[in-house]
């Protein structure tokens, strides 16, 4: 039996707007294995959340998945009918969103959310469903689950709400959990407890986790492998230790160097410029205008993904060999 849980190949999601269309997710490929955590990291607008929504076909128009395959078990999720997808969502793939208050129904008790998930997927009903709801709340370490099962979302603190979200997502025992910035809205001490909870649930159940975050600290704590996104593309992916300790892509390097942590009081090594807006992306590498190591052809020739080792891939002309380094004369002319 293969331990591959989810395999995404060439996923592309476009938004068609009047007079312009942009590619939010651009030819993205990655895999999640059983019991593994893949961290998807990037800045706002990099396409990481749209990627997650695309996997389970939750991208709303004018967005549309236009290419790729999402293999989950032996099925391609992109080829399923709406009815089939509904049986996958929640039952086989759980989702936790960043802002629990927006994701929970404010006039439904916490327990009712869980009972609904169990009933929709035909796993339990009535008193039995309620008992399972209480068990699930206990499993996510919500204090006093017998009482909290009847609480409304607004009666819980942010951390408790996020635990309740997790209980709902895990209600049907899905083998894969997608967590989109699950701790971003939480305080650090609450975040630490939530991350520890996710880790222990993974150990107990072999849950595969696709963890979306902008925080390299969370990645270092949680991920087995990491994929770095920039302007819709995965620019680098590999085992978390390798990527964090010897980043290959200039963007990854820049992000890690720009984080405070060196000698206090020293200038940080910032990445110049800003993320290009979707309608102003260069034809070639989207990072080229901000890249310290950019070569003359980088912004016109689109880089392809290169295998550095069996487990590491990078999408950068420093490794593709498609764009020659500037000859000395040219480099001087540019400087």
């Amino acid at each position: 039996m293969s331990d591959l849980l989810l395999s995404v190949e060439g996923l592309t999601t476009e938004f068609h707007l009047p007079g312009f269309r942009f590619t939010a997710v651009d030819d993205v490929s990655f895999a999640v294995r059983r019991g593994e955590t893949l961290g998807l990291v990037g800045e706002s607008g990099s396409g990481k959340s749209v990627t997650a929504f695309s996997l389970i076909q939750l991208v709303a128009p004018p967005g549309r998945v236009t290419a790729g395959r999402v293999l989950f078990g032996d099925r391609d999720l992109l080829a399923l009918s709406d009815a089939e997808l509904c049986r996958v969502r929640g039952a086989e793939i759980g989702v936790v969103f960043q802002e629990p208050m927006a994701a929970l129904n404010p006039i439904m008790r916490i327990g009712a959310h869980i009972v609904e998930a169990l009933e929709v997927h035909g796993l339990a009903r009535g008193a039995e469903a309620r008992a399972r709801a209480i068990d699930l709340l206990r499993a996510v370490r919500l204090s006093d689950p017998e009482r909290q099962v009847d609480s409304y979302p607004h009666e819980l603190s942010g951390g408790m709400r996020q635990r309740a979200m997790l209980a709902i997502a895990l209600a049907c025992g899905p083998p894969l959990l997608i967590a989109d910035e699950p701790t971003t809205a939480l305080d650090v001490t609450v975040q630490a407890a939530m991350l520890e909870l996710l880790r222990s649930l993974q150990r107990e159940s072999g849950l595969g986790l696709l963890l979306i975050t902008h925080d390299f600290g969370v990645i270092a704590e949680m991920a087995d492998r990491v994929a770095v996104m920039y302007a819709g593309r995965i620019v680098e992916q590999g085992p978390v230790r390798d990527v964090l300790q010897s980043p290959a892509h200039p963007y990854t390097r820049g992000l890690l160097e720009s984080m405070p942590g060196g000698t206090p009081g020293q200038r940080l090594r910032a990445i110049d410029g800003t993320v290009p807006s979707p309608d102003a992306r260069p034809e070639g590498c989207a990072f080229a205008p901000r890249c310290r190591e950019a070569r003359p052809g980088c912004s016109t020739v689109r880089p392809r993904e290169v295998l550095l080792t069996e487990s590491r891939r990078v999408t950068c002309h420093l490794y593709t060999g498609d764009v020659p380094a500037a000859a000395d004369g040219q480099a001087e002319a540019r400087a």
């Binding site: 600290g217 704590e221 405070p260 206090p264 940080l268 993320v275």
Partner: protein, 269 residues
């Protein structure tokens, strides 16, 4: 050295009424907080949401009126200032807000936003004000040609630079920066932090820096105060506080910072 800012026994209580039959409820947002900031220093207040750090910052500038306590700026009692004197004092003490999207008037052009403090305080002629705005935009790394743009035409990082230019317009000595980079992306945060450090060195500014990002605080603060449930539970020089936290809450807070080293990952026992 005599402190530039001295806060003693500062408290702010909010009274909330929960319907008229129930007794009013008092929230002690800030309770008996005391600290002093020396000229040129960066004093950071850290704590989790609801700890009272922002309220403390606002009380110092009297954007929120404290319930009790004393705030002395340059030896003078800020809380005793009548409105006119307070307005004059605000030339020396300014604020940079967290959210660059809501703290700039969307219907004012960038130039007008930066010029507004100069107009309120009647500084210079309109021509000299225009020159000063251009100078301020250059100081924070914005192009003076962008003066006629509206806030929505700027990125988040640029907006925060604009907010900084406005705060610096009256050449203040002291700046309260409330989470000035937490709404920005990592790659942009570093640019704004560098700018804050450069400006401090060039203009001799003193900062009260309010933040929840402990890694960032360790990088830029000279001294740190840790707030928890409205109280200042620990104050100390940055290196000392991070290496030998004394208060159990500080210890818990520091232990919660995710390490950037996967090998240092906390393993469950």
């Amino acid at each position: 050295m005599t402190p530039l800012l001295e806060v003693a026994g500062l408290s702010k209580h909010f009274v909330t009424r929960r319907g008229w039959l129930r007794p009013p409820h008092t929230v002690r947002a800030v309770e008996d907080v005391s600290f002093a900031i020396a000229p040129g220093e960066t004093f950071a207040l850290v704590g989790e949401s609801g700890s009272g750090k922002s309220t403390t910052g606002r009380c110092v500038l009297r954007l929120t009126e404290p319930t009790s306590g004393a705030v002395r700026f340059d030896g003078e009692d800020v809380l005793a200032f009548p409105p006119k004197r307070l307005r004059a004092a605000r030339r020396d003490m300014q604020m940079v807000f967290q959210d660059p999207y809501t703290s700039l008037n969307p219907r004012m052009r960038a130039g007008a936003i930066v010029a507004e403090p100069l107009e309120i305080h009647r500084v210079g002629s309109s021509a000299s004000r225009r020159d000063r705005v251009a100078e301020l935009l250059a100081l924070v790394g914005l192009d003076a040609a962008h003066m006629s743009r509206y806030p929505h035409e700027f990125s988040g990082g640029q907006r925060q630079r604009l907010g900084l230019a406005r705060a610096l317009a009256l050449e203040p000595k002291f700046l309260v920066a409330d989470e000035p980079v937490s709404a920005l992306d990592v790659s942009i945060q570093a640019q704004v932090i560098n700018l804050l450090m450069d400006l401090q060195a060039r203009l001799g500014l003193t900062y009260l820096f309010i933040a929840h990002d402990l890694r960032l605080v360790r990088h830029i603060a000279t001294r740190v105060g840790v707030m928890h449930q409205g109280r200042l539970v620990e104050v100390g020089p940055t290196a000392e506080l991070f290496e030998r936290p004394a208060h159990p809450y500080t210890q818990q807070l520091l232990a919660s910072i995710p390490s950037l080293d996967p090998d240092a990952r906390r393993r469950a026992s």
